[in-house]
């Protein structure tokens, strides 16, 4: 069998899967975004019966609505800020952790990685509910937090249903997605490089900044993409942990489809979100591309 045929056989199933469950739905969504909303939800017919009162056919009015009202772009900007903060906070937490795991004895590394992915063994929503208890007004955590801020003369404030709660939830949920690619990268670093750098006069900080960090960039980009993209579209965490002011773009999409029953507008929002995600995934792939053959 030629390698060409082999290639097609091997890449066939995933290709088919992506075609049916990604490309086709995106196509349906693109078409939906140009249609009218149905009277009772869903979509208005594509081909009218000729009745002058009937709404049918294609339109760009959902796109006009998105770009006319600044509020939607502002919501996008706000979601973007949350996603960036989440990514940065995840990176700040995950880097030392990954480095610690990668430099611990080989025997204990697998166990430590297992501990990182341990939360996946329980349901996502249950874990978020747990945070509602942790961040609740009577919790030890909240009281300790307010006690600490009180020591600096700040008024006590509720944590739950606040932007801080949303950020904490976002970072908690996405942290493993940053740790795993970072660890996978750092674990492969040749320790002789650090010895060489030290031997040639580099102190601990210089060894990190000149050797470890630049070599870890592909892992940083991969982790950033894995955190940023889902964080940009998430709705469950702002729903559960956020207050009335914590709505993000994901909540709006969900609202358009389920509550407002405006499928075309929901599709427009989804398309913009998908485009943003593809853009960032592309950027991450470009920056993280292997530079060595």
């Amino acid at each position: 069998m030629s390698t060409r045929v082999q290639k097609w056989i091997l890449s066939g199933p995933p290709l088919l899967y992506l075609l049916v469950f990604f490309a086709v739905p995106v196509g349906i969504m693109v078409v939906a975004s140009f249609r009218y909303a149905g009277e009772f939800g869903g979509l208005a017919p594509l081909f009218g019966t000729g009745d002058p009162d009937e709404v049918a056919g294609l339109t760009v009015e959902s796109y006009q609505r998105f770009f006319d009202d600044r509020i939607y772009l502002e919501l996008f900007a706000k979601s973007f800020v949350y996603a960036v903060l989440t990514t940065v906070a995840c990176l700040a937490c995950a880097y030392p952790l990954s480095l610690m795991i990668a430099r611990s004895p080989k025997k204990s590394r697998d166990l430590l990685v297992l501990l990182v992915i341990l939360p996946f063994w329980s349901n996502f929503l249950i874990r978020v509910y747990a945070w509602m208890i942790i961040l609740g007004p009577q919790s030890l955590f909240t009281r300790a937090f307010n006690g600490l801020t009180g020591a600096f003369g700040l008024e006590p404030m509720p944590l739950l249903f606040s932007p801080i709660a949303v950020l904490i939830g976002l970072v908690y949920v996405h942290l493993p997605f940053m740790v795993l690619p970072l660890y996978a990268n750092l674990e492969k670093h040749d320790p002789a490089l650090l010895d060489a750098a030290q031997d040639l006069g580099a102190n601990a900080w210089q060894r990190f900044w000149r050797i470890t960090f630049p070599l870890s960039l592909p892992g940083v980009y991969a982790g950033a993409a894995l955190v940023f993209i889902p964080a940009l579209g998430i709705f469950a965490i702002p729903d559960l942990l956020g207050g009335t002011d914590s709505m993000l773009i994901g909540n709006l999409v969900k609202q358009q489809f389920l509550d407002a029953r405006d499928w075309p507008f929901g599709s427009v929002l989804s398309i913009v979100l998908t485009a943003a995600a593809i853009l960032f995934a592309g950027l991450a792939a470009w920056f993280g591309r292997p530079k060595r053959a």
Binding site: A192, L193, L200, N203
Partner: protein, 361 residues
């Protein structure tokens, strides 16, 4: 005064004594080699000199200053690692400039110095290449250039030629000798390859089980090994164990079971009745149906097997008593190049009475 003093250095790993009370003194400009089999402690000693490991006892002194509390980055000692450890994300120029940048060398000085360093190792014009774009020999040169550019007092080389093929190895050996002469920096070279050690070094410390067995210049090490281990480790060697039968002046007779009486001249040590070993290099043994007249020791035997290596052939001859003797015959010897002995051929082996070196037990 010696540049590097290793004073009674000991290093233990659990119960294992990796370096056992080693004292060495290495002079400025010397090409010094630590030679030994794997696990002999040479690499541990090198890591302690570089500062990656600390002795459990003893002291390392560089240029009169104790290195005990000096971390590797602050020691004026650079290392060429066995894997070269070139930084894969940096170009050749950036790799070589690394020590200068760490030493806060002015940027204007860096470019010309890097260029000069590349010229020194015949890699001119390779500045913009990445390590993965270089051949093994080129990487090795970059590693050497990088370690030498800031002119350390001492250069440590940890089996730097181990990964190269035989031909390239030989060329790099010559280059290293030339380079060391040019820069005048003291080299401490670690290897398990005795030929490499003999070819490169001013002095060799042969190590075994954490101790220095012998410290001498290459000809002395080769011709006058101090003990069985050194004789056996350096080159091919017949080790003929026996008992001293008689001794008069600097001549003695050694009774070797399975061989017979062997006359030895010019080797000190050994009174009658003492056990000892005659270390005899195969190239000092003659083989033939007729032997040169000066062979004081002669034995009849049969060729057991031979190893043809191009320039020489190594014959293993079993003498009548049963002892096997290795004989090296240059294939260039007149009249011999086309006339090999075959296994089973009856031959004589013999050597001069001053050919071997007696090692008392």
């Amino acid at each position: 005064m010696a540049l590097l003093e290793i004073r009674n250095v000991t290093r233990r790993f659990g119960d294992f004594l990796a370096v056992d009370d080693v004292s060495l003194s290495i002079g400025t400009g010397e090409f010094f080699t630590l030679l030994g089999p794997s696990g002999c402690g040479k690499t541990t000693l090198l890591r302690m000199i570089a500062g990656f490991d600390a002795p459990d006892g003893g002291e390392i002194v560089l240029d009169g200053q104790s290195m005990t509390d000096v971390p590797p980055e602050a020691r004026n000692i650079h290392t060429v690692f066995q894997s070269y450890a070139l930084f894969p994300h940096m170009t050749v120029a950036d790799n070589i400039a690394f020590p200068l940048r760490m030493a806060k060398c002015p940027a204007a000085d860096i470019t010309p110095r890097v260029k000069e360093a590349l010229d020194d190792v015949s890699l001119a014009g390779m500045e913009k290449r990445f390590p993965h774009e270089l051949s093994g020999g080129q990487r090795q040169r970059v590693a050497v250039a990088r370690a030498l550019i800031s002119r350390p007092k001492l250069l440590l080389l940890d089996e730097p030629l181990a990964a190269l093929d035989a031909k390239l190895k030989e060329r790099m050996q010559l280059e290293l000798i030339t380079l060391q002469k040019e820069v005048g920096i003291t080299f401490v070279y670690v290897t398990h390859d005795q030929e490499e050690a003999l070819a490169l070094s001013h002095r060799i410390a042969v190590m075994n089980k954490g101790r220095v067995e012998q410290l001498d210049d290459p000809p002395t090490i080769y011709s006058f090994p101090k003990n069985r281990f050194v004789a056996d480790f350096i080159g091919e060697c017949n080790l003929l164990d026996g008992t001293v039968a008689s001794q008069a002046g600097d001549a003695m007779t050694l009774d070797v079971p399975g061989l017979g009486s062997v006359r030895i001249v010019g080797s000190p040590g050994g009174s009658p009745g003492a056990a000892g070993t005659l270390a005899l290099r195969p190239e000092k043994v003659s083989i033939g149906r007729e032997l040169p007249a000066d062979c004081a020791n002669r034995f009849h035997g049969r060729v057991f097997d031979y190893l043809y290596t191009g320039d020489v052939t190594l014959y293993i001859v079993e003498v009548e008593g049963g002892q096997r003797v290795e004989v090296m015959l240059p294939n260039s010897a007149v009249g011999r190049s086309s006339k090999f002995f075959e296994p089973g051929d009856g031959v004589q082996v013999g050597w001069r009475d001053d050919a071997g070196h007696f090692l008392p037990d």
